[in-house]
């Protein structure tokens, strides 16, 4: 340990500030998760639609956000949106915008993979039963797609929780940002960063357990 002694009082005294950061992190995660769940499905439907321009827009959107680092997206949106559009939105909304679009693109892919995993015999059965395409989508495709997509959607949400740490770089007071400023104020980086890591971890771990549980249930159901 080389003489470095762990100082628990630093952790205790910095907890209130870390908790206020955590509130911001969780708020961001929750709002973006909802945007991603709904938006992802809409974008996925667009990407699979027969109307070509709609499909092009959706595929371009998905590829753009999946193929650039989230950090680049956040910084780009923070620097360039105000210059391009001449508007100044508050930083939190900007962060929601950036992270929300990012998770939408990833969720759209998750939904798409799930829809493609539905065997073509189901489509044939729908045709044989004379179901309209709307009925087919709502009663046959959608329930199965959502069910199949749940593990990936949850994994994406865990990813989102971790991605929110990036907003610290553009000075939004989330958990990571508070940790960073506390570490510089107190000169106790080990205590602070370990606590920050631990807080993120205890929020990710239960979610990843849920993912494992869902996967098991799904496998049991499908075989």
């Amino acid at each position: 340990m080389n003489g470095y002694s762990w100082d628990s009082s630093v952790v205790l005294s910095s907890l209130p500030q870390l908790m206020s950061g955590l509130a911001v992190t969780l708020q961001l995660t929750a709002i973006c998760a909802v945007i991603g769940l709904v938006g992802g499905f809409v974008v996925c439907l667009m990407a699979m639609s027969r109307i070509l321009p709609l499909r092009w827009i959706a595929v371009f959107f998905i590829e753009l956000f999946r193929c650039t680092p989230a950090l680049v997206q956040i910084i780009w949106i923070f620097y360039c949106v105000p210059i391009f559009f001449g508007i100044f939105i508050d930083p939190f909304t900007m962060a929601v915008l950036a992270l929300g679009m990012n998770i939408t693109a990833f969720n759209a892919e998750a939904y798409r993979a799930a829809i493609q995993a539905i065997p073509s015999s189901h489509y044939d059965a729908c045709t044989a039963l004379g179901l309209s395409s709307l009925k087919r989508t709502v009663y046959v495709i959608l329930p199965q797609a959502v069910l199949l997509a749940i593990p990936v959607l949850l994994t994406n949400t865990i990813g989102l929780l971790q991605q929110t740490a990036l907003v610290a770089i553009v000075a939004i007071g989330d958990l990571m940002y508070q940790g960073k400023s506390l570490a510089t104020q107190t000169y106790r980086p080990i205590e602070i960063y370990s606590t920050v890591a631990f807080i993120y971890f205890i929020f990710s771990l239960p979610l990843s357990q849920v993912v494992g549980f869902c996967e098991k249930r799904l496998r049991a159901r499908l075989t």
Binding site: E63, C67, Q73, A183
Partner: protein
């Protein structure tokens, strides 16, 4: 501002951006070179190993998957030198973090494909009296790698994108250079867009390769 001035402005900074890109690729390559074998070893340990080793391996994977990469980078930058009492140097700690992160995520991909290998293969190995040092490299490894390659390749793309985070700890990668130029010239739009474009072109072509490989692989398995 017209396109010609923008382009000539970008041309002036091409060397800085290329140096950044070189560093990004270097960090990614080092992370991959260490992380991929590490991931495979960890997945083998988690699959068939001593219970104590299993717990250690699982804890390692869960910690690195459950905390943001940004937090990991900060931890390795500020805490590890203080704990160990040795200065690792910026490059070493960056590469260590990326490699450990890559090891954690790729061990999950390997584990999924290890599970997909039928139990009869293992039984056959036992029936043939193959010791682990023969069965692992000749029976398990080739099949695991073949199945895991699509996921591992997309993990590589993920690592490439995550490597943008090292800019936050002051490593001169592409993102860092882009931000530096943007800040010093006050022309963020050209530079940040160019940076995003460079990331996009590389990651997009990489994902195309993944898709191509995946399709060939699916054909081969006759799925």
């Amino acid at each position: 501002m017209d396109l010609a001035t923008s382009l000539s402005f970008l041309y002036d900074y091409r060397l800085a951006l290329l140096t950044g890109l070189g560093n990004t690729l270097y960090f990614t390559a080092c992370g991959l070179a260490i992380g991929l074998p590490l991931g495979f070893i960890v997945s083998i340990i988690r699959h068939t190993g001593h219970p104590v080793l299993k717990v250690i391996a699982t804890t390692y994977v869960e910690i690195f998957r459950g905390t943001p990469v940004l937090v990991q980078l900060f931890w390795f930058f500020f805490c590890l030198p203080a704990l160990l009492g040795v200065d690792l140097g910026n490059v070493t700690s960056t590469i260590t973090t990326l490699a450990l992160y890559m090891g954690a995520i790729s061990s999950e991909s390997c584990r999924a494909s290890l599970k997909a290998i039928g139990a009869e293969q293992r039984d056959a190995c036992i029936a043939l009296g193959l010791p682990a040092r023969v069965s692992v490299p000749y029976v398990i490894l080739p099949q695991t790698i073949m199945r895991a390659v699509p996921t591992l390749l997309s993990n590589c793309v993920t690592l490439f994108k995550e490597s943008a985070l090292v800019s936050a700890v002051g490593m001169a990668d592409l993102m860092y250079q882009g931000q530096m130029i943007a800040d010093s010239t006050a022309r963020p739009i050209e530079i940040l867009t160019a940076t995003a474009l460079i990331y996009f072109v590389i990651a997009f072509s990489a994902t195309r390769i993944v898709t191509y490989y995946e399709q060939g692989f699916l054909k081969r398995l006759k799925l």
